[in-house]
């Protein structure tokens, strides 16, 4: 077994029953779906236990729910593991990752203003890219934005 398979196997073993869905795109790209209540625990496993680097997060407005993908990079062997959570469209909210690492601060502000996800426990949830007087409840990357 080479190093490349090893890290993803270790991650799989550690997260075990928290994995809702696992998808291997190729040797370097993996997508793991988890439930939103486990996000902090899973992120801590990746970031603190295995030394993954947080690259960025993507918020996507899908037809029935809102997806957030947290992209983590393992720089020793070059894999990207994307943690996927699906949020209820009527009340999209999830625990903020700012207590685990500071790099989450800006991207969570961006996802909040663009897609309208509330990050619980974020210390400074205000506009990042849009102006301060942007109308409330208008999220530019939502499908139904007028």
């Amino acid at each position: 077994m080479n190093m490349k398979e090893k890290i993803i196997d270790e991650v799989k073993n550690k997260l075990k029953d928290k994995i809702v869905d696992f998808f291997r795109k190729n040797d370097k790209r993996y997508y793991i779906e988890i439930n939103k209540q486990n996000i902090i625990e899973c992120v801590k496993v990746l970031f603190e236990d295995f030394g993954f680097r947080f690259s960025t997060a993507t918020g996507i407005d899908c037809e029935n729910n809102i997806e957030i993908l947290y992209h983590f990079s393992y720089d020793k062997t070059g894999e990207i593991v994307s943690l996927k959570v699906k949020l209820d469209k009527n009340q999209p909210e999830i625990e903020s990752l700012t207590k685990v690492f500071s790099a989450a601060e800006w991207i969570e502000r961006e996802i909040w203003e663009m897609v309208g996800v509330n990050f619980i426990g974020h210390p400074n949830l205000k506009h990042l890219l849009l102006p301060e007087d942007w109308p409330e409840g208008k999220y530019p990357l939502r499908e139904d934005v007028i």
Binding site: K28, S55, T56, G78, W106, L129, P131
Partner: protein, 394 residues
Amino acid sequence: MKKIIPIGPYHPLQEEPEFFKLYVDGEKVVDIEIEIGYNHRGVEQLSTTKHYDQVTFLVERICGICSTSHPFAYVNAVEDLLGIDIPTRAKYIRSTIGELERLHSHLLWLGLAGHFIGYNTIWMWSWKYRENVCDILEVISGNRQHYSMFKVGGVRKDIPKEIIPQIEKMCDDLVPVVDMFKGAVMDDPVIHARLKGVGVLTKEDAIKYCVVGPTARASGIDIDVRRDDPYAAYGEVQFNVPVLYNGDVFDKAVIRILEMYESIRIIKQCLDKLKKEPEGNIEVKVDFIPPGEGIGRHEAPRGEVFHYIRSDGSNRPVRHKIRAPSYVNIASNKVAAVGQTISDAAITLASVDPCYCCTERTVAIDVNTKKEILTWNDLIKLSQQKTEWIKKHI
């Protein structure tokens, strides 16, 4: 008593609008608030309204300095989605362009850094030699910036054998220049006094802020996408990744100078390979993008560029996430600039090489007749004449 010193949004030194609010106690910076968003153009949304080939040109216009970084990461993302391999020649051309860009970008930063600390000689020399790199890029692609070389499945233009000696000569001529800059930075006691121990980003903070590129490598984090997750020709050429451990502005400057040597090394290896490979085979046809997702990265001059693409099988992406390296690097100023004096703030903020767009257009107008002296067509003609001149004389 705490006072606030605003830097920006429009600042005489910086070309692009960013707003830094420095909270100071006497001479000392005690806190900093960073506001961005003055240059938000909605590219992610715009990208979902264009088809896959158009997006390459759109993302090229995100940045004027590292203009090839975004198309590089974007085509990597689409090719990751497709699971295709591109011709060897295209791979080496891509890496050549990527490294030429790193050279001119680092030279540009070195000049700006010199300017910020009042060392204008470095500024003028560095930008003088940067011209040679831009000229070579013009010979290859027709443009000094926005080379339009990339497409999904390969590259748009070949590098013909006739111009390879020109590129090699430029690289050879650049080595003594980088030697000179290395000497100017390493041997100058004034620069040591001015930059050492200034704007320190510790390794712990660098990990917390997830910084990338030279900013991370100067703080002892050994990462480089080109080596860690090889793409294009980077898996097939030899190069070193310089890493330093102090995390101050001095180390960030030295890292960039050392990287220029490695870029020259990579370019020369790529050119050797291009000489042997038959010309013409530079792309594979891509007719259809299936539903799925893809992630592409590129080690831009400032660090990892990250692109995520989701396709539903139509000819446009349904979601395109872009993260430039400055997005994480600028945020780390929150720790690097605090505790410094005000006079050190400018160079500390500039030391992560925040991405300023260098493609500004000017209009010259005759004050008496109120007419444009140079029209758009005149400018195009001038540009074409210059390209011809360079081709003849280099």
